[in-house]
Symmetry: C2
Subunit: 194 residues, 2 copies
Amino acid sequence: MAEVENLSRKEQVIRKAAALFQKNGYSATSMRDLAHALGIEAASLYSHIKSKEEILQSLCFDMARQFRESLENVEKSNASYSEKLRNGILGHIAVMAKDLTASAVFMNEHRYLSQPYLRDFLLMRINYINRFKHIIEGGIKSGEFSHIDTKLAVMTLFSSLNWMPNWFEPSGLIDPEKVGNQLADMLIGGIKTK
Amino acid sequence: MAEVENLSRKEQVIRKAAALFQKNGYSATSMRDLAHALGIEAASLYSHIKSKEEILQSLCFDMARQFRESLENVEKSNASYSEKLRNGILGHIAVMAKDLTASAVFMNEHRYLSQPYLRDFLLMRINYINRFKHIIEGGIKSGEFSHIDTKLAVMTLFSSLNWMPNWFEPSGLIDPEKVGNQLADMLIGGIKTK
DNA sequence: CCTACCGATCGGTAGG
DNA sequence: CCTACCGATCGGTAGG
């Protein structure tokens, strides 16, 4: 059934769906809403996708893969723990900045995944968080960081990162690298006068 | 129609709804789900509440009021900017810890409010954030804080605070005051060795 | 990509 | 708090 030609149209469907999921939420977005936004009938969507949830799966797992790949590259480097933490932050923000809409869906709508996808997603997320945690723990052992609560530190970092799609200007006025460096400065160096 | 006797039953309905909204999302929670969880028929819910959204409104605006009141008390004090920031954080966490379920709904489900409630809610939230921002700006002017990006700083703070209901142990094993002080230490003092 | 349609479920009301 | 029910809408399929 001409899979190749359908690929770009499928991409269009997924991207439009992401925009609607971000704006109105996954559950509150109907396939008729999506079809109308694309100028077609609801039934026609099923030529491109198997189900509503397949769209959500694509969005969530594609973002998860990009985040994971970014962090793997950072881990492979020989940088200090401070630098690894900074580069992990920069990489995460760079991935988000490439698609703020998909990032917002990744963060806010993954909960509507059914099993076993939800379980897999949450396991991947825990794994990702733990890898950041290990960098922080390494930095504490090496003496680069003070003896802070690592769980609180990594949760603060993770929440800050994931909240960004909600306040970044979609216009692209914000420079992801600049914001990443500022966040790293603040979390690593603190905001208090030295 | 005996408003007084209905109050506690209405409270039960709202609290059970909050738990379901937190677990499954507002849109994905049906009035039949809620009724079943309470052991009654869906139609019977309407003796206690006017609509599904009225429940969401109660939850969101009640939490918003508590957050506002907490911050107002901090602003009235004569503390330094560091202390005001710390006390603002402690107050916010204390309000959340009193009802983690309602806090999660406040954070994750407010978007399903219809107009004009959504507008009012978002204006209150912006106001709340700006008041924290003013504390940080005051601290920069007074020399207590270094010249960081105030928007980034307040967004980092705000996202850290609002993410907590998602990782706090519901068992109450976490001491809100301890976590608040640690977060304040980290954000005010930084995590890097001095 | 369409028309025509399915069974299920939605929030909510009438009337008791 | 119940039974009985409303019109609207849901995700998805059949068949072209």
